[in-house]
Amino acid sequence: MHMPEYTAKIKEISARLLKEKKVEMVIGFRKGTVPMMNEPCFVKMPEDVKELVWDSNCGINLANYLTDRKEKIGIIAKGCDSRNIVTHIIENKIKREQLFIIGVPCKGMIDKNKITSMFENEINEISEHEEKIIVKGEGFEKTLNKNNVLQKNCKICIHRNPVIYDELAADLLDEQKDIDRYEDVRKIEAMAIEDKWNYFDEILSECIRCYACRNACPLCYCPTCFVDESRPQWVGKSTNPVDTRTFHFLRAYHCAGRCTDCGACERACPMGIKVRTFTKKLEKDCLELYGWEAGLSLDERPPLDTYRPDDPEDFIK
């Protein structure tokens, strides 16, 4: 099934849910005003479902928009969104009964930074046909293979199908097999301590502390984030590298065992910082230590909020 069919099905399901008053609102995407961007939006009237779209620019994680909502909600969920919905339900940020999950088997989102950097001139229009991405700008037109311009997290995704849903907007896909998810993490693990430190500082050197990464993340719903605490103040508010580093490292640790590698943080960063570098290491650790992948089941507690006598403890020195 291709993108226009996805969109048509999403509209059909959404209109039906609203008409039958099964939900008060549907959360999805509408077409963006600039290339490679769609805007998260809600629809409350059946006639407004025409706004909804689905294509390769829906990289923002919509679970982020469910936090503490009280309504009955229809929500469009690709694989990673659905895993974060599971995490939200486990963490009591939303109730399963409140949700009608419109599952979208996901063919991956395109990396707008990568595509932008491939062209000298501004990109004015992007369209997609099956596996082809057609890029147009003043004086140029180029067809790209979608697989070569996927967001990095999508390229290595092994949960493209939603893990929880009430209705599907398309047929389930074959999951990607034999994916090496942690090649980049291993490279960093192999670095000397000092090189690692320098590498992290280099990655973070452009950070402007806008917190787009944190705020795009469905896991970051603390009423007051530790960097925003003022009594006492734990972290400085300047662009001092120590404070910036503290923010990113602590945020990553706070996401350990919860992160689904949805890539919303990296996609949101205005500076193009590879913030997944940090969360992925912890994701890998959770897999290796506890055999855990976040958000796959409603019936199991995440490893870091449970205790088992046989938990690994080699890291306690």
Binding site: G32, T33, V34, M37, N38, E39, P40, C41, F42, I60, N64, Y65, N113, S117, E122, N124, E138, E206, I208, R209, C210, Y211, A212, R214, N215, A216, T224, D228, S230, G236, K237, S238, T239, N240, R267, A268, C269, P270, M271, G272
Partner: protein
């Protein structure tokens, strides 16, 4: 007003001459995008750029700026007394700044330089700066400068406007500061002002025609602030917003800052950092009460400030120069053009 012809062959030499007299800043491409930075000796600004990722406001108004230092060591005579720190306010030149960004400094000056209050840090940095503009012949699709009282060849806020003619620049000197800059560089070839102005005018018309994006602002002043504040569209506009600081930090006209003390052992500094009305902490009272406690209130504040309160207070258009950065960088595609039109149209 003189017009100078700068042969591009003499560009590097001119910059070398300037190097001792000015600290030079210009757009440079790092591995990802163009940014304004101080140029080291021999480093050239890359003037083949659409616009920089962030605005050059930081050259005058740094994201983090230390103002004072103090000692808490009571054995010292001057302990607990704030001392202003020495800063370099020697002449600096911002080379290749776009007319929209130049206009933003004039706009921001309203805030930092009033009859009642003068912000010494901003003003000293501003006054030490020569603004060398680069006319914009290839505006981006998100540029709407002509709707904001600005334009791709706009001269306000510039000391000098460079117009790229291919083999050479036409340099239009606009102030004595611009004159000094040209003299210091040693570019002396005067060009026929009538002919040069004609060329500039034609290029300007062409560039303005390329602007494809517009907003309507004509009704904003007539609209009731109370009606706009209570308008039903804010929930919908704010829905996608994640309340990050990207739009405000990228914006050349956002001027808000927060003052912080940081103490390490016995040494303290007092600094100011950019702040953002998108952050809950921005309005959190000492009592714990927060008058703008919801995302919708904060989003509304940002647009109301730029598009209504500012308009009412200064009667000189909107607090926006149409550079389009907030549109390009917003992680969730909230578009000020759409909001501006909604506000302009809203009749209550």
């Amino acid at each position: 007003m003189r017009l100078i012809n700068i042969d591009k062959k003499s560009w590097t030499g001119g910059l070398e001459n300037l190097y001792g007299n000015y600290r030079l800043f210009g757009p440079v491409k790092n591995n990802k995008h163009h940014v304004f930075k101080e140029l080291s000796k021999g480093e050239l600004p890359d003037l083949n750029y659409l616009n920089t990722l962030l605005s050059p406001k930081s050259i005058v108004f740094s994201q983090s700026e230390t103002m004072f230092e103090y000692s808490l060591d009571e054995s010292k005579e001057q302990h607990h007394i704030l001392k202003e720190i020495n800063k370099d306010y020697s002449p600096q030149a911002l080379i290749g700044i776009r007319p929209c960004d130049a206009a933003s400094f004039q706009l921001v000056k309203r805030n930092f330089d009033t009859p009642e209050y003068k912000d010494p840090y901003w003003l000293r940095a501003y006054e030490s700066t020569t603004f060398v503009g680069l006319a914009c012949s290839n505006p981006c699709s998100t540029c709407f400068c002509t709707s904001t009282g600005c334009g791709p060849f706009h001269e306000d806020g510039l000391d000098l406007l460079l117009v790229d003619e291919g083999e050479n620049f036409i340099a239009k000197i606009l102030t004595p500061g611009g004159e000094n800059f040209i003299k210091s560089a040693g570019w002396e070839t005067e060009t026929d002002p009538v002919a040069a102005e004609k060329i500039i005018k034609n290029m300007k018309i062409k560039a303005e025609k390329k602007i494809a994006s517009f907003v309507s602002t004509d009704q904003l002043k007539n609209r009731s602030a109370i009606d706009l504040y209570a308008a039903p569209f804010w929930e919908e506009i704010a829905f996608a917003c994640i309340n990050c600081g990207t739009c405000t930090y990228a914006c050349p006209t956002c001027w808000c800052f927060d003052i912080q003390d940081e103490v390490s052992k016995n040494l303290g500094i007092r600094m100011r950092n950019w702040d953002s009305c998108m952050f809950p902490l921005f309005t959190l009272h000492g009592t714990g009460y927060n008058p703008r406690n919801t995302k919708m209130q904060r989003v509304r504040q940002r647009f109301m400030h730029k598009l209504k309160y500012y308009v009412d207070k200064y009667d000189d258009g909107i607090q926006c120069v149409g550079c389009g950065r907030c549109i390009r960088l917003c992680p969730v595609n909230i578009d000020i053009r759409r909001v501006c039109d909604m506000m302009n149209k809203y009749e209550g």
